[in-house]
């Protein structure tokens, strides 16, 4: 991440100088800061709501029951999660929210999953294999129906906006599989 960030910043500034976009570049830094504040405020609301809901799940013990239920499924991908750990529930709920395109629930539940996975982390500050698998699944974006894309196509008069559903599903299914394979390959190399 360090190298990537360094390259992005340096390349941007060099380009800004040569293309005469210096003013736009400087303005964009503060636009970026503003966007970060706005998104953080939005996240503050929805994350707090989901932390409240999942707290009820914890206090009532439901979180362990759900974990027990989905353990066989989740443990195929996440091998080192012990017993009926709460992280299994958070991962399951995050994947379900992603499948149904519930962005407002997927991100907070994903954060919850990361926090639960962190409780299993013995080397704080260093990412665990389980966290990597989880993030790779999330960045590959598994979704049954891309509602926003269909919405835009329909509003501009596409004859059959639903025609994109199957291709998108196929594309995400294949790319999620390959992403997990790429992760497995890197894991072998960097062991």
């Amino acid at each position: 991440m360090n190298i990537l960030w360094l390259i992005m910043i340096c390349v941007s500034i060099v380009f800004a100088i040569f293309t005469g976009n210096l003013e736009a570049f400087t303005k964009s830094i503060f636009d970026g800061a503003k966007a970060a504040v706005e998104i953080s405020l939005y996240l503050l609301g929805i994350v707090s709501v989901w932390m409240g809901i999942t707290k009820i799940l914890e206090d009532s013990g439901l979180i362990y029951r759900i974990a027990h239920l989905f353990k066989p499924l989740i443990s195929r991908l996440f091998k080192n999660i012990p017993g009926d750990h709460p992280s299994i529930t958070a991962i399951t709920l995050n994947v379900l929210a992603n499948l149904f395109g519930l962005g407002n629930a997927a991100t907070p539940l994903g954060i919850k999953a990361m926090q639960e996975l962190e409780t299993l982390n013995e080397d704080k500050g260093v990412i665990t294999p389980e966290m990597m698998t989880f993030i790779v699944i999330n960045t590959a974006s598994i979704q049954l129906i891309p509602f926003s894309v269909i919405g835009i196509l329909a509003s501009y008069g596409h004859g059959n906006p639903a025609a994109v559903v199957f291709p998108v599903l196929l594309a995400t299914a294949i790319s999620t599989m390959t992403a997990l394979l790429v992760l497995a390959a890197f894991r072998k190399i960097f062991r």
Binding site: V14, S48, K55, F100, I111, I127, L153, F186
Partner: protein, 176 residues
């Protein structure tokens, strides 16, 4: 079929919340107090995420505004010219991992300028639906638990994004 999934999507969160509070009450949990106690954790989590989000957003916005983005897009376009991918779809492929709102704006623009049933629109639609805002996900999820050493995660995500776009292009060619 789509209407059914859409209805389930609408139903799923309210039903889940209802079930959670009823089950909690059945297990003698004071659900109101529980919810408050959970919500109290929210601000600390966001405080952790905020600096990561800010750092990545500044880099992304600067990259787009400086003209470097256009250069990268044109470079990609000429390198992969033999695949005959519309330049609009190339833009989408690069924007989507960087920014969700920018990719939505770009997609609307592509639909307007190239027509709603053009190859560029279809290809962008599949990329938009099948790719994710990788940098945002990385900043939020890693930031929430203050991970500093990400090992080989970032290269894995970038390679996977690239493969995902190739897959999307292939799928579109096959369907449309």
């Amino acid at each position: 079929m789509i209407e059914h999934v859409e209805y389930i999507s609408l139903l799923i969160i309210p039903l889940f919340i209802l079930f959670t509070v009823l089950y909690g009450t059945f297990k003698k949990v004071r659900v109101y107090d529980s919810f408050v106690a959970g919500a109290k954790e929210g601000p600390a989590i966001i405080l952790n995420i905020f600096p990561y989000l800010l750092t990545i957003f500044v880099a992304i916005k600067g990259f787009q505004a400086s003209g470097a983005f256009d250069y990268v897009r044109n470079a990609f376009y000429s390198v992969f010219a033999f695949l005959e991918i519309p330049i609009e779809a190339v833009s989408m492929a690069i924007v989507k991992p960087l920014s969700g709102s920018a990719s939505t704006a770009l997609f609307t623009d592509i639909v307007k300028t190239t027509g709603v049933e053009s190859m560029a629109t279809h290809m962008s639609a599949i990329i938009m639906g099948s790719a994710e805002t990788t940098f945002y996900v990385l900043a939020v999820y890693l930031g929430s638990v203050s991970i500093k050493k990400t090992r080989y995660l970032v290269p894995v995500c970038l390679v996977s994004d690239f493969i995902g776009i190739v897959v999307a292009v292939a799928v579109v060619r096959w369907f449309f």
